[in-house]
């Protein structure tokens, strides 16, 4: 029993952090047109093998576990990584064709995430997506988008574009089972945890240097105490995330329940910490050039994916846990 990145896990997390800070830093989002992954960025991720992390070796992947997947997406969250990063990783597990799989892993073709909204679908991420991925509890499918021109919509979230589709073509690849949705849920939860941590780091750093009324703001309880509450949220969400990742890796029967709890806590922590981070920064916190609003807007998107509040809590209510 050990619930923290350990040994090689920690090394992968460090490598992911180093790579992401260089290739996809959160600062990029202050430049117009930076939503989604560009083709160049996708190719770079592919080259480094990040899309193959949780793809079995037999399918041409790295064959690493849910734990490494989680550690990578937590670091991606700290940089407000776009959702197509996760879609691409999942798609590599869905494609049944070795050629397509290799192209996905290499980042040569783009995948967006499709979410149902009433009778329509919203496509999130990659404006040049050749494929759209749908993931439901028991099934994941890839749809060719080549012959479809989704309508562009304005997107609140600067990290991802949003498009609207009236209907989907026939899926080209399908897999059943909960594996993909669990990887998706874990990835989204991990990103949200990373974002909750990032919000805490930003305000703690600022509170140590910014002064008002002749004192560092971090010495006022009006700042200290909400920061402490933010730290508690991070600690709770992160601990449960580790638990869920390990439960999935080990194939425990209660992994689904732990994933639901992890996603719920991550949703709450990311949204509440993004809120507090803006508020405690004061005026500078509402400016476009500050990172604070990016975390809020991206958390709004991610908190609705792979389990929003209502569906998570409904499933979790009667779930049984193991020791």
């Amino acid at each position: 029993m050990y619930l923290a990145p350990d040994g090689e896990e920690a090394e992968i997390a460090t490598a992911a952090s180093d790579f992401l800070v260089g290739a996809m830093p959160i600062d990029r989002l202050h430049v117009a047109g930076s939503a989604d992954m560009s083709a160049e960025l996708r190719a770079l991720f592919g080259e480094m093998g990040w899309f193959a992390l949780a793809v079995p070796e037999a399918m041409g992947g790295s064959g690493l576990s849910a734990v490494e997947h989680t550690l990578f997406f937590r670091e991606a969250g700290r940089q407000c990584g776009p959702i197509d990063l996760l879609a691409q990783s999942l798609a590599a597990n869905v494609a049944q064709d070795a050629g397509l799989r290799a192209a996905l892993i290499a980042g040569e073709v783009a995948v967006g995430l499709l979410v149902a909204d009433g009778t329509q679908f919203r496509l999130l991420g990659s404006s040049d997506a050749a494929w759209g991925l749908t993931v439901t509890e028991g099934q994941a499918a890839l749809y060719p988008l080549a012959s479809i021109a989704p309508a562009a919509l304005p997107s609140l979230d600067p990290a991802n574009s949003m498009r609207l589709l009236g209907a989907l073509p026939e899926p080209a690849h399908q897999v059943t089972g909960s594996h993909i949705s669990q990887l998706g849920q874990l990835g989204a939860a991990a990103m949200l945890v990373g974002m909750a941590e990032c919000a805490l780091d930003l305000i703690v750093e600022y509170a140590k240097v910014r002064e008002t009324f002749g004192r560092k703001i971090g010495s006022w309880q009006a700042v200290r105490h909400p920061c402490a509450d933010m730290a508690v949220r991070v600690e709770a969400a992160r601990s449960q995330l580790w638990y869920a990742a390990a439960a999935m890796k080990e194939g425990r029967a209660d992994a689904a329940a732990h994933l639901d709890a992890a996603k719920h806590l991550a949703n709450q922590a990311a949204l509440a910490n993004a809120d507090s981070n803006i508020q405690l920064h004061g005026g500078i916190g509402v400016t476009d050039e500050h990172h604070a609003h990016l975390l809020l807007k991206h958390a709004l998107l991610l908190s609705r994916l792979f389990g929003g509040k209502r569906s998570l809590l409904t499933r979790l209510l009667h779930a049984e846990l193991e020791d």
């Binding site: 979410v115 149902a116 909204d117 009433g118 919203r122 919509l153 304005p154 997107s155 609140l156 979230d157 949003m162 002064e211 008002t212 009324f213 002749g214 004192r215 006022w220 009006a222 700042v223 809120d275 803006i278 508020q279 004061g282 005026g283 916190g285 509402v286 400016t287 476009d288 050039e289 604070a292 609003h293 809020l296 807007k297 709004l300 998107l301 609705r304 929003g308 509040k309 209502r310 569906s311």
Partner: protein
């Protein structure tokens, strides 16, 4: 204790409602640019021409000299008629600068500026906050030195809304010694066309550029533009701020109730991802209803406060509690709206008209930070309402 409106109040409401129904512009206000300022000038001019300008101003200065209660009626009718939002480029002139000039200005200042504000001819902006003097206004550093009959101003101001449209600025600068905090500040009227002024817009998380940094490089302002006494600007500024905390938010307060009704309507016709109507979710319905009660309380607080002020002639110290209540309720309502609207809540490219709920959601933080953060409002409440020992 009574809820009676006088006959005159009833007549006033009927007259306001009828006029607004006939005169509220159909066009949507442009979101930014000179055309937004022109829209505001036109609407203000229309109000002025028809005798509706300056509801809070004394009649001797061209205002309507309305009682507080009739001002409440006016703002309720504005909200009901969905008239142009009263927080626009006219706001500082009508609600801050004008009242300050009325209270502390010279006859010349009054004669020149007040008619221009009322008629929509002059747009004003505020110049109080600085990069390192937000909540702690008394630490401001922008400096004015006296040269003959002029002040020469150097430094910078921050969070100046609509500086790019403004003709004049209410400017608070340090004229006395450094480090004396409240002492040695001066409140002066700055012509925004003066040489040496540079404006740099600050883009906010809402995607707009209404607020600005303003830089002053040897900007010369005649001493005759000082309002109140030289070095007594804190006293002049506080007159403005207490006005803001008293009646300044009245429009927002009353508009909230219109918005909660719209949210309930919305929840009655919008489906959640589980297929149910949003209003069929007990949690959403209860939160909306509870917010409705909060909005009713806000209206009651407003009426109680206004009626008391009408009687005593003195605004009480309750403005800070009002701002806390209003900003908290505003955010809670915006969050429920986000849950109701589902994915379409995340469609937002800065267009307030097309996506009002998302805009208002983002504005929650501007609202709870600007004009004194919620943390500062709690400090003021603890000090002035509860009389607790000072924290600083």
């Amino acid at each position: 204790m009574d809820l009676h409106f006088s006959e005159a109040d009833h007549l006033f409401r009927a007259r306001a409602r009828a006029w607004l129904a006939a005169n509220v512009p159909n066009e949507v206000r442009p979101a930014h640019g000179p055309e937004s300022a022109q829209f505001d000038r036109d609407w203000q001019r229309k109000l002025f021409d028809h005798g509706w300008a300056g509801v809070a101003w004394p009649s001797e200065y061209g205002g309507l000299g309305l009682s507080g209660l009739q001002q409440v009626i006016w703002y309720e009718e504005l909200a009901r008629a969905r008239a142009p939002h009263h927080i626009n480029t006219m706001y500082i002139g009508l609600m801050h600068a004008g009242p300050t000039v009325i209270a502390r200005g010279t006859e010349e200042q009054k004669a020149f500026h007040l008619p221009r504000i009322l008629s929509g001819e002059a747009i004003w902006c505020q110049g109080f906050s600085e990069p390192n003097a937000g909540s702690d206004l008394a630490s401001l550093k922008a400096r004015g030195r006296i040269e003959g009959d002029h002040l020469v101003v150097n430094g910078s101001k921050m969070w100046t809304t609509d500086a790019q449209h403004a003709d004049y600025q209410e400017l608070l600068i340090r004229t006395g010694e450094d480090g004396l905090r409240h002492k040695g500040l001066t409140w002066v009227i700055c012509d925004m066309k003066s040489p040496g002024i540079q404006i740099k817009p600050i883009r906010t998380m809402l995607g707009d550029e209404h607020v600005n940094m303003v830089f002053y490089d040897d900007v010369r302002i005649p001493l005759s533009n000082v309002v109140g006494e030289l070095d007594q600007g804190w006293s002049t500024a506080m007159a403005t701020l207490s006005f803001e905390r008293g009646l300044g938010f009245i429009g927002d307060q009353l508009e909230l109730y219109e918005r909660v009704k719209r949210a309930i309507d919305l929840a009655g016709k919008t489906r959640l991802d589980d297929g149910r109507l949003a209003l069929e979710d007990d949690g959403i319905a209860q939160r909306l209803s509870s917010i409705k009660a909060d909005c009713m309380a806000i209206r009651a607080m407003t009426l109680a406060d206004i009626a008391e002020t009408d009687r005593t002639g003195m605004p009480g110290p309750k403005g800070s509690m009002m701002k806390l209540m209003v900003t908290t309720t505003h955010k809670a309502l915006s969050e429920v709206a986000g849950e109701i609207l589902g994915w379409s809540f995340l469609e937002f490219g800065g267009d307030r008209t097309a996506h009002p709920w998302t805009y208002d959601y983002l504005w929650s933080w501007v609202f709870s930070i600007s004009g004194g953060t919620s943390e500062i409002q709690r400090e003021i409440t603890a000090d002035r309402v509860l009389g607790l020992p000072k924290s600083r």
